[in-house]
């Protein structure tokens, strides 16, 4: 069972409740401000889990969907010679197509790659969230690298995506340097220390 922090609303900003390094670093600074300002008003139980933050997960979801939609729109308009209203319709539909493509990716991983791995290694892994997360991010990074070399409006989108990956890497380095302080904070709030 997960750890729960009772009646400490400021624990909402514990870095252990965030997944990505950029957000964890932001949470660290936000937590320091919240710890001095928050009053205890009501009974609150906060779960300590790396994927607990709604702001983080919604932001990443919106960013990945928008970026993938841009790549898809760039692909459609450059490869298929559609013109006029059909072109506009195709571009308008790209967020829906991108959502379908995203789902096809993890369905393929979960339904093909993992059963293959399980058959080969003789294991019975059921929880594939980590594997699928790595695959999704790897696809986004590879697509960004591809479109970063392309001409036109999609190029800055790809460079922004690469910059986000780089920023997250830099934040991970900072967090690694701060790991003792983060572990102490986790101990203070009774949650297990979590790695980078």
């Amino acid at each position: 069972m997960m750890r729960v922090v009772w009646d400490h609303p400021e624990a909402r900003w514990l870095p252990s409740r965030f997944r990505f390094a950029v957000f964890r670093l932001f949470a660290w600074y936000r937590f320091r401000a919240a710890a001095t300002q928050t009053q205890r008003l009501d009974r609150v139980a906060l779960a300590i889990d790396r994927d607990q933050s709604a702001v983080e997960q919604y932001s990443i979801a919106a960013w990945t969907l928008l970026t993938q939609s841009c790549y898809l729109a760039a692909f459609i308009t450059s490869r298929w010679h559609v013109a006029g209203p059909w072109r506009a319709l195709a571009v308008a539909l790209t967020p829906f197509l991108a959502a379908v493509l995203v789902e096809i990716t993890f369905i393929a991983t979960g339904a093909v790659l993992v059963p293959l791995w399980n058959a080969t290694a003789g294991s019975r892994i059921e929880n594939n969230i980590r594997l699928n997360s790595i695959v999704q991010m790897a696809i986004l990074l590879l697509a960004s690298a591809y479109f970063a070399g392309a001409a036109g409006w999609v190029r800055p989108v790809a460079w922004i995506a690469i910059a986000v990956f780089a920023m997250n890497g830099a934040a991970a380095v900072v967090l690694f340097a701060m790991r003792r302080r983060l572990e102490a904070l986790d101990r203070e709030y009774g949650s297990p220390p979590c790695a980078g």
Binding site: A47, Q57, I107
Partner: protein, 303 residues
């Protein structure tokens, strides 16, 4: 026993969607989840009877609103439903719990401190499953949760197996298939100091009912919890689990309802308690209509 035709597993109440949800909980990256929830919510809006049921209920909850606005509101109801069933499966499979806020804590403490049993009366709102599991974790008492059985046979078997596999120490789930047998069992449980959790906003087949009014419309409310409270002389604690956002819920415990025998007319005494319940139910539904998961019209004149 005749098994369902194979294709029935793909109907909206079929077992396929339960299995698919479990698979998704174990496979979907968390940062992709909002996209997946949004797209599948859109897909399930194709479920005509459910969509129309919610829209018709909304005409009573929000009188004067247009069909288009109620259609968009229905998307919000389906969206919240998708998140709550996902949170419940995630809790059962991975023991991931959401954040909780509590309102009416003093009523919960009061229920805990009284030696006799109690009845928790809840509604099809937020994740009532998750709420009762949390209650079972916090409470020192044993909790018996009563649920309506699934209509589809394979889904019923799947859910029963899942409950068997994932239930906590202090919680037991009973399906109200045989009302008469269950009534004695519940009376015994409450008399032994246990807490019985029942949903009190929808009458299913074979369940005793009591006429009441909700949003000015005549409807039927399950009579069992009130009759049980009267027979066992225990209090009813209305409890609502409200979804506040992603992995964030509020557990609202209301002041208790006492079902007291005041006259020789039992129905009159029950009517007072039922009216107190529907008043609280109406108040909570009015504030959080976007998570009242009643997919059939609640009143005959809305059908």
């Amino acid at each position: 026993m005749i098994r369902n035709a194979w294709w029935k597993r793909f109907l909206v109440r079929g077992v396929f969607w339960r299995q698919f949800l479990r698979w998704a909980v174990l496979n979907v990256p968390l940062f992709i989840e909002p996209i997946v929830e949004a797209s599948w919510t859109l897909f399930f809006l194709l479920w005509g009877p459910g969509r129309r049921g919610v829209m018709r209920n909304l005409t009573a909850i929000k009188p004067g609103s247009s069909a288009l606005v109620n259609f968009l509101r229905t998307y919000r109801v389906f969206w919240n439903f998708a998140w709550t069933i996902t949170d419940t499966v995630r809790f059962k499979e991975l023991h991931v719990i959401p954040d909780w806020e509590f309102t009416g804590w003093e009523h919960f403490k009061e229920m805990e401190s009284r030696p006799e049993g109690a009845i928790i009366l809840t509604a099809h709102m937020g994740s009532y499953d998750l709420g009762v599991h949390l209650f079972a974790e916090m409470s020192e008492r044993r909790i018996m949760m009563i649920r309506a059985p699934e209509r589809d046979e394979r889904t019923r078997e799947y859910e029963a197996a899942m409950h068997e596999r994932t239930l906590g120490q202090g919680l037991r789930i009973n399906f109200n298939t045989k009302a008469a047998e269950l009534a004695f069992e519940l009376l015994e449980a409450v008399n032994a100091g246990k807490i019985v959790a029942i949903q009190g906003d929808r009458v299913t087949e074979g369940i005793g009912s009591f006429p009441a009014k909700l949003f000015g419309k005549p409807t039927l409310i399950p009579s069992g919890p009130f009759a049980l409270a009267m027979a066992a002389r225990v209090r009813i604690y209305p409890l609502f689990v409200v979804r506040l956002g992603r992995r964030r819920y509020r557990l609202i415990t209301c002041p208790p309802i006492e079902v007291v025998r005041r006259s020789r007319n039992r129905d009159e005494d029950l009517a007072i308690a039922v009216a107190a319940w529907t008043e609280r139910l109406e108040q909570v539904i009015r504030e959080t209509w976007y998570q009242w998961f009643t997919f059939e019209p609640f009143a005959e004149d809305l059908a």
